[in-house]
Structure formats: C-alpha cells, structure tokens
C-alpha cells in the first residue's frame, strides 16, 4: 500500500487563496458582459490581501518546518518573500487598473487571474523544498508571464512574448535536466529530507555521485541565471522589458527577481551547501559578467525601459555579489537588496507608465525632456528611484549596496567589490542622464504626462519607503535578521 503523507494545508494557504481568487477572476471574465477593471481589481485585491493575512499567520509557525511530505518549507524566509511578492502583485494590479482605464479598448481582464497565478507560482517557489515543486512553480509563473508579456496583442509585445517563451522554454529544459542530475546524485529531489535523506544530506554524507552533483549545479545555475536575468543568460531581458506593457514589466521585473533569487538562495545555500566551494566561483563569475554587461550596455540605451532592463542585469550581479559570501551575512544583504530593488523597480516603472501617456511608444529618453517643468512631482519621484538605483544616500539603494559589498569583502572577495563599485560609477552616468533630461532640458512638443492619481500615490508611497529605509534601515534588517537563517 502506498503511504500518503499527512497533509497540512495552512503553509500553502496563501497559494491556495491566490489560485482560488484567480479562478474567480477567470469566471468573472468569462461571464461579464464587457470588460471592466474595477471588479477585476477588487477580486484580485481581496485575493492578495487574504494571501497576506494567511502568510503573516505563518510568521510564528511552531509546527514541523517541512510539510506536505517534505516538499514545502515553512520558515520566516519564505514569509518575507511572500510579503514582498504580494506587495509587488498588488502594485502591479493597481497600475494595470489605471493603464486599462486609460485605454479601455486594449484592456484585458485576463491580466488579473494571470497575475494571481504568476504570484502563486512565485510565492510557492520561495517556499518549495523539493526541486520538482520548484520546477512546477517555475513553470506556473513563467507560463503566466509569457502570456502577460503579450497581453496587449501589439506587434512588439507579441514579439517579446515569443522571444521570452522560446528562451524561457530552453532554460526550463536546462533546469529540468539539472533536477534529473540532482536526483541521480542524491536519489532524492528534496532539498532537505526529513523522512528520507535529501540532497543536502546525501551530498554532506558523500553518498551520492559528486560528478553528477556538479553537473546538476551547473545546469541549475543556467536555469536560475535565466530567471534572475544574470549575464550571459540575459538576452531576453531588454526585449521583454521594452515590448511588454509597462504594468506587467513593473510586476515582472520586481517579483520575478525576488522569487528566483529566494529560490536560488534555498537551493544553493541549503541544498548545495556541501558544494559551496564549487558554486561560489560560478556565482562570482556570473556576478562579474552581469555587472559589467549590464552597466556598460546600458550606456548606449535611449529607451528608458531598455535602460532599466540593462540596469536590472547589473543589479542581478550586485545581488550575486552578496551571495558569493555564502554565509548568513550575504543572504541577509541579498534579501535587503531584493526588497529595496523590488520597491524601486515598481516605482520607476510606475513613473514610466505615467510618462508614456499615449500608448507604449513614448518610452524614449526624449519623452522625459523637461519633465520637471511639466510635472514636478513625477520628476521628483523618478529622481528618488534613480538615485536609489545608483546607490546614492539617503536611499535604500545605498544601504543595499553597502551591505552586499560589505558581505563580499568580509568573505575575502574584495576584487569583486572593486569591480562592483567601479561599475556603479559607470551606472551612475546613465541614471544621471535621465535626471539631466528631466531637469535640464526643455520640454518636447506634444508630450503630455498622465495625471492618474492611484499610480502616483503608489509610487509616492514606494519613494517614501525607499527614503525611510535609506535613513532607518534597521526597520527592515530587524525583520530579516531571524528570516535569513535557512534551517536545515
């Protein structure tokens, strides 16, 4: 007789709620007479808030740390990730409600269910303790995002979606093959096994094949590298960022990076912990290439969305810099960085959406000329986000940069920190150039900014949060302190 594991549903209640409300949204879309953003936004918001409540109940979880037959971990690490991801989803939904009301013809109600599904995949991936569950979650989020990318049906969006799908499928194959190799090495796909030995126990006890484990590591690096858009697996990023509708990019850019990095931390720092000496050089190399490629190629960009795409590649490199430390300081630094980065990305793309008032075409730098004169509020908010991306005090980006470099130097990787700081000077150049356009150029003719209140408030809250975190980072580090220790 096959023994079924005892099921404890509370740890995955956030995901269950998200999927339930996604289905409700789909049903509404199917039966609604005409598309209307308001009910969709209401359904999605309720779903997200319900998920937040159920996730916060997990903060003081006293039960078994691994549930559902050891496939799902319950720890503060994943709760933090869920908060960030759900926040990103909420902001993305708010943005799209505004985006849809601006141009009712192109509004697609499917955005909301798809976003909820993607969010469910993202939150699940950060809690997954089994490579198979990680893969399932990865596919759930990826497939939703492929569709979201092309949701407007415009030519450029469709092209981006196609590119994303093809390259994404390719990377999924790598990932899957990596799982197979990991199973071959450890005869288990559990990261930490309680009932039976998982990957970490097998590798630590040296019962598995080391060669297969190294192969698995290499393949998993490719899969994760694609998702976090680390160079040289970044090829899709600029095209998708440019082609996809801006609310989708805001959500995707912030949330995918958070989810993929949290999963990467669990797989590498926990599962492949016995191979630390083998994977740190790999992450080191990825970090160097990402930082250099992202910072240098961004210089030539004249489209703000492409520019932010290349900057996201460089930021992936900075986060990897913290992770090369392979200790809890590095993990904490990366987590702080991810929270700050998610907030900045959401805010910056919110402004991009408001600036490109007429459709998707006005994302060139010229649309930002004289923005400070046209709408000083938007320009001020964008400046805060850009300064945070450049890592200038008093923003959260500065503290984030200091903590990741400090972690890397503490682990002896100071050459990487030198490369990082030099690249951040290069990066400062193109962030400054946007500021130059906003403050020091005359406004272009016929460009107008959107005056939408809701996205403005959201971006304002994010900007305030970034400054508060920059001045009082203790608020967040206090939360991350207990969350960064991944148990095994």
């Amino acid at each position: 007789m096959i023994q079924t594991p005892a099921l404890e549903f509370r740890p995955i209640l956030p995901e269950i709620l998200l999927c339930t409300f996604a289905i409700v949204g789909m049903l509404y879309e199917a039966f609604a007479r005409r598309p209307d953003p308001v009910p969709h936004l209401a359904i999605a918001t309720v779903g997200i808030l319900a998920a937040v409540v159920s996730a916060s109940a997990l903060w003081h979880w006293t039960g078994s740390p691994y549930v559902m037959g050891d496939t799902v971990a319950v720890d503060k690490f994943s709760v933090v990730a869920r908060f960030v991801l759900l926040g990103a989803a909420l902001v993305g939904c708010l943005y799209y409600a505004h985006y849809g009301s601006r141009d009712p013809g192109s509004f697609r109600g499917e955005f909301y269910p798809l976003t909820l599904f993607a969010t469910a995949g993202m939150t699940l991936i950060t809690a997954a303790n089994d490579l198979i569950v990680i893969f399932l979650a990865l596919e759930l989020l990826s497939l939703s995002l492929y569709v979201l990318t092309g949701i407007t049906g415009r030519r450029r969006a469709s092209e981006a979606a196609m590119k994303y799908l093809l390259l994404g499928a390719f990377s999924s194959a790598f990932f899957l093959y990596g799982i197979a190799m990991a199973y071959g090495a450890a005869t288990s796909t559990k990261i930490v096994g309680v009932a039976a030995p998982g990957i970490v126990q097998a590798l630590a006890g040296q019962t598995g094949s080391r060669a297969l484990a190294l192969l698995a590591m290499a393949l998993l690096v490719v899969g994760f590298g694609f998702k976090v858009s680390a160079a040289p697996f970044h090829m899709w990023t600029p095209d998708v960022y440019q082609g996809a509708p801006t609310p989708v990019v805001a959500f995707m850019g912030a949330a995918t990076k958070v989810a993929a990095f949290f999963a990467l931390i669990r797989v590498f720092d926990v599962g492949l912990q016995p191979l630390t000496w083998d994977w740190t050089p790999v992450l080191y190399a990825l970090a160097v290439v990402s930082i250099v490629v992202g910072s240098v190629l961004a210089i030539a960009q004249r489209d703000v969305k492409r520019l932010l795409a290349y900057s996201s590649i460089a930021h992936a490199g900075f986060i990897l810099t913290g992770l090369t430390a392979a200790n809890s300081t590095g993990i904490r630094a990366a987590m702080f960085y991810l929270v700050a980065y998610a907030a900045v990305t959401l805010g910056a793309f919110g402004i991009v959406m408001l600036v490109s008032a007429r459709g998707e075409e006005q994302t060139s730098l010229d649309a930002y000329a004289g923005l400070a004169r046209r709408s000083p509020g938007l320009a001020a908010l964008m400046t805060v986000f850009l300064l945070s991306l450049a890592g200038i005090p008093p923003t959260a980006g500065f503290i984030a940069k200091v903590t990741v470099f400090s972690a890397a130097i503490g682990a002896g990787n100071w050459p990487l920190a030198v490369i990082g700081v030099v690249a951040s000077v290069v990066a400062a150049y193109f962030y400054l150039r946007v500021i130059v356009y906003m403050y020091m150029r005359e406004p272009a003719e016929g460009v107008e900014s959107d005056e939408g209140a809701m996205p403005r408030i959201a971006a304002g809250v994010l900007a305030a949060g970034i400054v508060v975190l920059g001045v009082f980072p203790g608020i967040l580090t206090g939360v991350l302190e207990p969350a960064s220790i991944v148990r095994w």
Partner: protein, 514 residues
C-alpha cells in the same frame, strides 16, 4: 544641549530645506530667499556657539555626540570637532549665508535652488564632523547630488557636461574609498562588534600588513585627491567652476575642495601613518606639479573664471604639500591655507560673478577700464587679489609662508619650487586685475552701476576676515595647533606634542615682514 550643538548645525539646514520644499511653491520667491538666508544665518549662529564652547588648546575631539543608528551594520551617528574641523565648520557656515545672498538674482526655480543649497550645507557640515567612516562616506556622497543639480540646473553654457563630469569624477574616486572602508570594517570584527568608528578602524589599520595598508592608503587617497583636486585628477575642476553659478563656484572652491584636503589629513595621515610616510614623496611631487601647473595654466587663461579655477588647483597644491611635509608648521599652515583659500577664492568668485552680472562676459578681451566706472567693486577686487596672491598682512600669506617654511625643513627642492609658484601667483592675479581694471573702456560698459547695498553686505564680512586672519593668525592657529600636533604625532611617533608646544607661528609671520 552642549553636546548636541554639532547635530543642530547639521539639522538646521535640513529643516530649512524641508520647509522650503513644502511651502516653496506657494510663497513668493523673495520669501523663499529670506527663509533660506535665515536658515543659513541660524546655522552660522549655532556654529558660533560651537566656537564659544570649544576648549582651545585641548587635544582630542570635543562636543562628541553619539547615537547608534543601524545596529545590524554597526553604523553609528558619531560627530565631534577638533581644532582642524572647527574652522572648516565655521568656514562652511560663514560662506553659506554669503552664497545665499549672492544668489539673490537667481530667478528660475528659486525654491528648488535653495533646497539644493541647504541640503549641500548639511552634507558638507556632516562630512567635516563625522567620526564614523560610513557616516562620513554617506555625507561625502550626499554632497554630490545637490552640487550636481546646482551646476547642471543653474549654470551657464556647457553646464550639463560640467555637472556630469563633476559627479562622475568624484564618485569614481569615492568608489575606492567605499571598498577601503568596507575592507577595514570587515576586519574590525576581531576587536569586538564590527564598527565603522574612526578610532576602531584606525586600530584595525594599524594592525594590517604593510602592503595591505599601502593599498588602502591609495584607495582613500584617490577619493580625496579627486576632490582636492590634485594633479592629474583635477580636470573636472575648471569645467565645474566655470559653468557653475556664482554661489556654486564659491561653495565649490570655498568648502567642497576642503573636504578632500580634510580627508587626507583626517583619514589618510592618522589611519595609515606608515603608508603616508612611504608615499609622502610621491604625493609631494604631485602637489608641486599641481602648484606650478595650476599657476602656469592660470597665466594663459582668457576666461577670468577659468583663471580663478586654475589658481585653486595651485593653491590647494600648497595645502597638500603642507600636509605631507609632516612638520608642525607645514601642517598648521596647510589647515590655515584651507580656511584662507576658502575666503580669498570665495571672494574672487563673488567678484567675478558681480562683474559678469554687469558685463555679461568672462573674457578678458571684452573687459578693461572698469576701475574708472566701478571704483568700489574694483577696489574690493584689488584687495582680494592681493589677499589671494599672499601679500603680507592679508590672510593667505601666513598659510603659504608656514607651508613653505615647513617644507623647506624637509626638502629644499620642494620648498624652492613652491616659492617660485608664489611669484607666478602674483603675476597671474595682478595681470588679471590689470586686464579687468585698466586699459580702454568699452563703450557699452560706460554706465555700469557700482556695488549695491546687498553686494556690500556680501563682500564686507569676507574682506574683513581676510584682513583679521592676516594680521592676527593665532586666532586660528592656537586651536589648530594642538589638533595638527596629534596628527603629526600619529605619523612620526618619535615626536610628542610636548616637544613642539609653544607658539608655532614664527614672529616673521605675525609681523609684516615678507
């Protein structure tokens, strides 16, 4: 109350900036200006209280204010002054009201401009008093943004290029500083909880192997050398100075450059004494090249603002030369020269700005004969030219003299070369005055107005101080000496402060003998 005085000097401008940012759009531009002026005056008032409570002659940091800021990082809010930073703080709080007054005519985006100026003041003050290295770095980086906005937003001609160049040069230098600080921080965990405190990191630096300490010295050095700016990292300065609005140039020359020399003195010398000695010749050579190169470049400029900018390169070279001579006289002279250069060059930029407002040109070729039209303005100009050229009895003389004397004790060659540059300085300054004041007057300049009441209010305090510090330098030196002595003692542990004691300013400098 007393121990929070420094915190108040940092906070006052920030409060003013917040206020202006909130109400600036709704009130008159004139009220915004007055609000900014009052804020800077209040800050100056608080800094005078700092001066009153400062115990002259005592060594070590005073009025130390400490609070834990980010516990998880070990970042502290830790500020304090000694005789070196005291005068730089006062110079800063003194020059800011003058700069606000000098920018009265700025008519576009007044609120935004004043916010930038006030935030800049906070950041500069913070970097002069911070005793925690990450805190210092925070302020050091925070200086960039407002200055960048001031140059880029209210400058002339090629302002965007100059602003970006300024930002990137300084940030590139400070990037290495950050790595250096984090490196020391990563080692500080061995002596208790990790911290960025200056005292602790100095201990850490003392225990490092010699090559590591030398690399760290260089990392710190690059950051400050860009800021000073030291040859060959000075190329951003002429552009930034030339394109910045008058107040921007005044503040850039008056206080921002001093952050660099202050950093060299405070951090490089005291944290890496052995490496400082090792690199002393190298740094001195750069300084001497800068002194002469700056002077020669100033000689050939046709743009009056560029001339003053290159003269800064030359004068700041003196400061660095003095600091790296490691003699009591030279270092004290260097600090004195920081203050004096801030006043003299600040005044020069103010005057150049006033001339420009009237003639709308900075080219020597398009000026001439102005002395007959604006006797008061040009009289003030002549006074400042003399002060800047180091005429005995005016402030710069004392500083330069002490630096040269102190350097001679170490190296005759450097002393002799820098003395030559003093002559060059007199040539280009007097020649520039000649080209502005005398010669044929252009027809369109015939009816230019002389100094207004506001302009007198701007200039008079600066000119008065140039005279006071020239005649009575021990006003400054008696509090500077103990502080420089501590630094020198750290570098050459053989010499103790007790040995040096007594008045360092020789009689020759006190009197009016050349």
């Amino acid at each position: 109350m007393r121990q929070h005085l420094l915190t108040f000097t940092i906070l006052f401008p920030l409060v003013g900036a917040t206020l202006i940012a909130l109400v600036g759009r709704r009130i008159d531009d004139r009220d915004t200006r007055i609000l900014a002026l009052l804020t800077t005056l209040a800050t100056f008032g608080v800094s005078l209280l700092v001066l009153r409570d400062f115990q002259t002659g005592a060594t070590g940091y005073q009025m130390v204010d400490r609070a834990s800021w980010v516990r998880s990082l070990g970042l502290q809010y830790l500020v304090g002054v000694d005789g070196i930073s005291l005068w730089l703080v006062l110079l800063t709080t003194f020059l800011f009201p003058i700069s606000v007054l000098a920018s009265w005519k700025i008519g576009t985006n007044v609120a935004r401009y004043m916010v930038a100026i006030l935030v800049l003041e906070s950041a500069v003050l913070g970097s002069f008093v911070a005793l925690d290295l990450l805190l210092f770095f925070l302020f050091f980086e925070a200086i960039l943004v407002p200055m960048y906005l001031i140059i880029g937003g209210w400058g002339s001609g090629n302002r965007v290029y100059a602003a970006i160049k300024f930002f990137l040069f300084t940030m590139a230098g400070s990037a290495f500083l950050l790595v250096g600080i984090l490196f020391l921080y990563s080692r500080s965990g061995q002596l208790g909880p990790p911290s960025f405190e200056l005292g602790r990191l100095t201990q850490v630096a003392g225990g490092l192997p010699v090559p590591t300490a030398r690399w760290l010295f260089l990392a710190f050095f690059v950051a400050f050398a860009v800021k000073v700016p030291l040859f060959p990292l000075h190329t951003w300065l002429p552009d930034a100075h030339t394109e910045a609005p008058t107040a921007g140039s005044v503040l850039l020359a008056g206080v921002l450059l001093k952050v660099g020399t202050y950093g060299l003195l405070r951090f490089n010398l005291s944290m890496f004494p052995q490496a400082s000695i090792h690199f002393a010749t190298f740094v001195s050579v750069l300084a001497v090249i800068g002194i002469i190169y700056g002077a020669v470049c100033a000689l050939i400029q046709t743009d009056v603002k560029r001339l003053v900018a290159y003269s800064s390169v030359s004068h700041l070279g003196f400061v660095v030369l003095g600091i790296f001579a490691f003699t009591q006289q030279a270092v004290t002279g260097g600090v004195l020269q920081m203050v004096n250069h801030g006043l003299a060059t600040g005044a020069l930029f103010l005057l150049v700005g006033m001339v420009y407002e009237r003639t709308h040109t900075r080219e020597f070729a398009e000026m001439g004969g102005l002395a007959g039209v604006m006797p008061w303005l040009l009289g003030a100009f002549l006074f400042v030219v003399f002060a800047s050229a180091g005429l005995p009895g005016l402030s710069s003389f004392v500083g330069e003299f002490l630096v040269i004397v102190g350097t001679f004790a170490v190296s005759h060659l450097f002393g002799a070369l820098s003395a030559v540059a003093v002559v060059l300085g007199a040539i280009y300054l007097l020649w520039s005055y000649q080209r502005v004041a005398y010669g044929p007057l252009r027809e369109e300049h015939r009816y230019l107005p002389d100094l207004s009441g506001r302009e007198v209010a701007v200039l008079a305090p600066v000119l008065a101080l140039l005279l006071v510090f020239g005649v009575y330098p021990s006003l400054l030196t008696r509090s500077i000496d103990p502080a420089t002595c501590v630094t020198i003692e750290q570098v050459r542990s053989s010499q103790t402060c007790a040995d040096v004691g007594g008045p360092v300013v020789p009689a020759a400098a006190e009197g009016r003998q050349p």
